[in-house]
Amino acid sequence: MKVRKPSMKHYAATLVAAASVLGIALGLAELGISADADPAVECPGVGKPESQYMGADSCALCHTKGDAARAPSKLATLDEFSIWDHRDKHRIAFKSLQSPRALAMEPLLGMNPGDAAKNRQCLACHAINLTDKSAGATLAGDEKSQRAAVAQGVSCEACHGRSSLWIDRHWKKGEWSGLKPPLAEQRYDQYGMANLRDPVRRTELCLSCHLGNIACGKFVTHDMFAAGHPPLPAFETEAFLEQMPPHWQPVPPLSRTRSVALEGLVALRASVRMLADANRLPGGQAGDFAIYDCAACHHELQIPSSRQLPGHFGGAPGRPPLRSANIVLATAAIGPQSTSDGRITPSPLDAAMARLQTATRGRPFGEPQAIEAAATAVISQLDEAIMNVQGKPLADQNPRHVIEQLCRAGAATALDYESAWQLTGSLRAVVSDWQQLAAAKGSAKFDPKIQSSIEELSELVHFPSPPESSTAPRPANRGTLWENGADFDSEQFRKKLGEIVKLLDSR
């Protein structure tokens, strides 16, 4: 994790933040149901330390009516605010903090009635992230406009970054808009706008809420789940993006394939960081069961039990195992390693992950020091793997190869429902990339049988169908993890993956 040195400017911003009217105006609750953001950590999609949230209405001034001709760049059509406002579920994220369920959760978490909608930790994912109190995580405007801005839920700046430094610059031709790649990217970094076309940053940003990011003050704790917070299903960037009404322009061919090749690595890195960060919390990660595989403890006991078969506990009965989500995608991204004599060996990542798993099992919840060391090793393996993929030109991405890697990795693992769901999301994205490419080149190499096989996989995991049109209303909730995963048959799913590998081999 990049650690930035606090500058004098930073401290100045801290003072401003401390004196800010925000906390008072919104009456933000300080209940500490999870940790606040660590000011020394650079959080995805946040922006410069000294920048402020301006509120989505500032964006609406330009991004509402839709006029591609007037747009300073091909990246925008100036109707982004409207699409988000009318059809994107992020827009209603704040409302759920005032839902009957939230009201029922409050007393169970020791909160006063109505406090969820004022709590920094809740708002961090249901609106904008104000947990980074020491940095400039402040919101401009008077009390009324502040309240309105928070009530807009996960609004523009929650993803694109606090905008006070760039809102007046990012549209200016010559200064920013229309610049060629290296220069445009420099602007993003200079003013703290999140470059969401970068698949690594994009995935990290989504994951910061959909998985969690303890260092950035975003963590759904076990207490919150126990009180009634819905489970966070395993995240797969492409699948989740598919469910969003796009307020962005189509991505170039092979972008989705590259995104898939990267996202597993990024997601695994994020989840290992969660473990390492939780390990440093008071009481260690034992203090929060949410880091661990829910179903490892939460199942009815049965006699006889399929859990009491060799290998089920990774060789340590009675010790909670980590969640297995994200591992299979990362394994697929790295692929099998073969030695000079052609034998397949475990990759360095596999070995590092094995050491991490072991460190969490030496005793229940592991030895903190062993976990710290093992997590650091896994993260550095993943850093390296991510750099490798990033270093390759887009044109080098090979959808056929990626599909094969995904299927092989899945077939070789004891897949649980979440991993199978993620795998399906990735396969769907890559196969659509492949199909588009084949259609553009008039190539016959694409086999529709593969696509239909992936459709069958989708049915096995109850994958949501994509929205019918870009103007469809907000998608319905897709059922909870437990409902969808209840009838999952791992054997059947893996058999199907094996069939896809055979199909690919036969061509």
Binding site: R101, A104, P107, L108, T221, H222, D223, M224, F225, A226, A227, G228, P230, P231, L281, P282, G283, G284, Q285, A286, G287, D288, C294, A295, C297, H298, H299, E300, L301, Q302, I303, P304, S305, R307, Q308, P310, F313, G315, A316, P317, G318, R319, A354, T358, A359, R361, G362, R363, P364, F365, E367, A370, G479, T480, L481, W482, E483, A486
Partner: protein, 572 residues
């Protein structure tokens, strides 16, 4: 399950448990060093990688029991003229067939009205005789295979594993005990004491006379099994667990062992006594009937007293075991797991998440404030609620004041989030609380559970404010009500006359609660086998249990009738 609604077992649960698996408490890691990890190094699957896993803990020191082997085996007791005589129900001749009863492999078919049971205990198999035999079956092998990462079940030898024999047979290093003696399972001497030094003496007329004239004193190494207190302490040594000492190895059925397939332990002395075929005579089962032979103690208080003593002794054993588990300086099994999940309510975690909102736990969450707040692990839900109830209900007037204080202190420490537990403080507090329980148990042994005390307990147990937080608390309260209800029935002068409407309804209501608290069959379409040795597939957790529903629908109607009965307000 076995067709007798009065048998206080949990259908398949206790059936299974008594088969002996329950007793598979182990020295776990301590002796794993001897017989587990030593082996792993030799046969570690997957080569060097798995052999270096920290789950395979570096050897800690093993303290082996030093008491010299003084076991002679059941063969020393089973002569036909001694304890292996023909089955009889004649109280004065029971001693002659006590081995025969223990050894029977079939449910004892005894004349209906003259069974060994006191009044309503059905004859059953004494499963202690199979305690060793179960170590040879697939399930036991699988447990050791999983714990020790063995490649196959055939590589596992639970019968030679000190973690297992610590409860399933002679609690000594199994390599030092002749297999013939180990194979007896939980034989006579496991409860009565190793017999080498008293076998001959206890056949002498002098001692037999002292036994019958009531001046009975156990011989050296012989355990006093006539006193409920000393009997309960023997049972708890395995059925709850204990740290090792000079007499026996560590006995700890911890969460690792349970996760590998060992049944959880849920000992309740009075109920357990009820499912064991008695090879002894406690006293006449009708008040007022003359003692069978001069010198036989007539213990009319068995039900209430066994319940009270059993609760407190189990709590004492559980606290001593916690003190051991939390003791970082005790290196008998220095790498035992901590935190230890089996200290907590199993079903707080082990319930299916089905996506339904709100869940029954979330609905009743307001009742679970404080340490048992939602999302936390409630500690000690099995062993302590009824002890607290017993202390609070003061059956003998101001009497047990102060005994509960150390336990209350410990509870504030165990209520902390599991990552913030202070192991040293818990070790000290648990030992202190155990001492208080020890004193309380001693005191209960001297107390008289007369009708006043029994009625007082029954009334308090039926308190309208009783709100079980979980299955453990509900089940413990049922066992309390059953024991105290039996005690009350015993004292009724008109006993034998047909019960009043309320009395019948209370008995039926208790049966209904018992039925509801039993774990469901895994597949309701499969007719369960009636063979008590067969393991029927079943849930091992109270699938769908809802504490509020059980309280309102099942407990409350019984409570109302009990209160009315005790107030003498029963409508004619």
């Amino acid at each position: 399950m076995n067709g007798n609604s009065h048998v206080p077992n949990f259908a398949h649960r206790t059936d299974r448990d008594f088969r002996g698996l329950r007793r598979f408490a182990g020295v776990c890691v301590a002796v794993a060093v001897l017989c587990g990890f030593g082996r792993i190094a030799a046969v570690a699957p997957g080569g060097a990688e798995s052999a270096t896993q920290p789950t395979e803990i570096p050897p800690g020191k093993v303290v082996s029991p030093t008491k010299a082997l003084k076991y002679v085996g059941v063969g020393g007791c089973s002569a036909a003229a001694c304890h292996g005589g023909p089955l009889t129900t004649e109280p004065s001749r029971l001693w002659n067939c006590s081995y025969t009863i223990w050894a029977s492999q079939e449910p004892l078919a005894l004349p209906e009205n003259r069974s060994l049971k006191t009044a309503d205990h059905a004859p059953l198999i004494d499963k202690h005789n199979r305690a060793y035999a179960v170590l040879l079956d697939e399930r036991s092998k699988r447990i050791v295979q999983l714990l020790d990462h063995l490649p196959t079940t055939d590589a596992a030898t639970p019968q030679k594993d000190a973690r297992c024999v610590a409860c399933h047979s002679v609690p000594h290093d199994p390599t030092t005990v002749p297999v013939a003696i180990l194979a007896d399972g939980v034989g006579c001497e496991l409860c009565h004491g190793p017999a080498k030094n008293w076998l001959a003496k206890h056949t002498e007329n002098r001692w037999i006379d002292s036994y019958h004239t009531g001046k009975y004193e156990p011989l050296p190494d012989m355990t006093d099994t006539r006193s409920l207190l000393s009997r309960a302490r023997i049972c708890a040594g395995c059925h709850v667990g204990s740290s090792g000492d000079t007499d026996h190895l560590v006995r700890d059925a911890n969460h690792d062992l349970i996760a590998a397939g060992h049944p959880r332990l849920d000992f309740e002395f009075h109920a357990f006594l009820g499912v064991m075929p008695k090879h002894w005579f406690d006293g006449p089962d009708k008040p007022g009937s003359p003692a069978v032979k001069p010198g036989f103690k007539t213990d009319r208080e068995t039900h209430a007293k066994a319940w009270a003593i059993g609760q407190v002794v189990a709590a004492e054993a559980a606290l001593n075991l916690l003190a051991h588990r939390a003791d970082e300086n005790d290196d008998k099994d220095s790498m035992r797991p901590w935190p230890e999940f089996s200290e907590y309510d199993c079903y707080a975690c082990h319930h299916q998440l089905d996506g339904k909102y709100p869940s029954s736990l979330q609905q009743s969450a307001k009742r679970r404030s404080g340490p048992n707040r939602l999302g936390s692990l409630p500690w000690g839900t099995w062993y302590f609620p009824e002890v607290e109830f017993l202390i609070a209900s003061e059956p003998f007037g101001k009497w047990s004041e102060g005994f509960g204080q150390p336990l209350a202190e410990l509870k504030t420490q165990t209520a902390k989030p599991i990552g913030s537990l202070d192991r040293t403080t818990i070790h000290i507090s648990a030992a202190k609380a155990a001492q208080a329980m020890h004193r309380l148990a001693d005191r209960l042994a001297e107390a008289t559970f007369d009708p006043t005390a029994v009625d007082r307990l029954l009334l308090r147990a039926s308190d309208e404010h009783f709100a079980p937080g979980d299955w453990d608390e509900a089940t413990q309260r049922l066992l309390t009500l059953e024991a105290i209800w039996k005690a009350r029935q015993f004292f009724q002068p008109q006993r034998g006359v047909s019960p009043s409407k309320d009395e019948q309804a209370i008995a039926d209501g208790l049966d209904k609660i018992r039925e509801k608290l039993q774990f469901p069959a895994a597949n309701p379409e499969i007719e369960p086998s009636t063979d008590p040795r067969r393991l029927n597939p079943h849930f091992d957790s109270p699938n769908g249990f809802d504490a509020e529903v059980v309280r309102i629908k099942l407990f409350e109607p019984v409570f109302v009738r009990i209160r009315r009965l005790l107030a003498g307000d029963e409508p004619k």
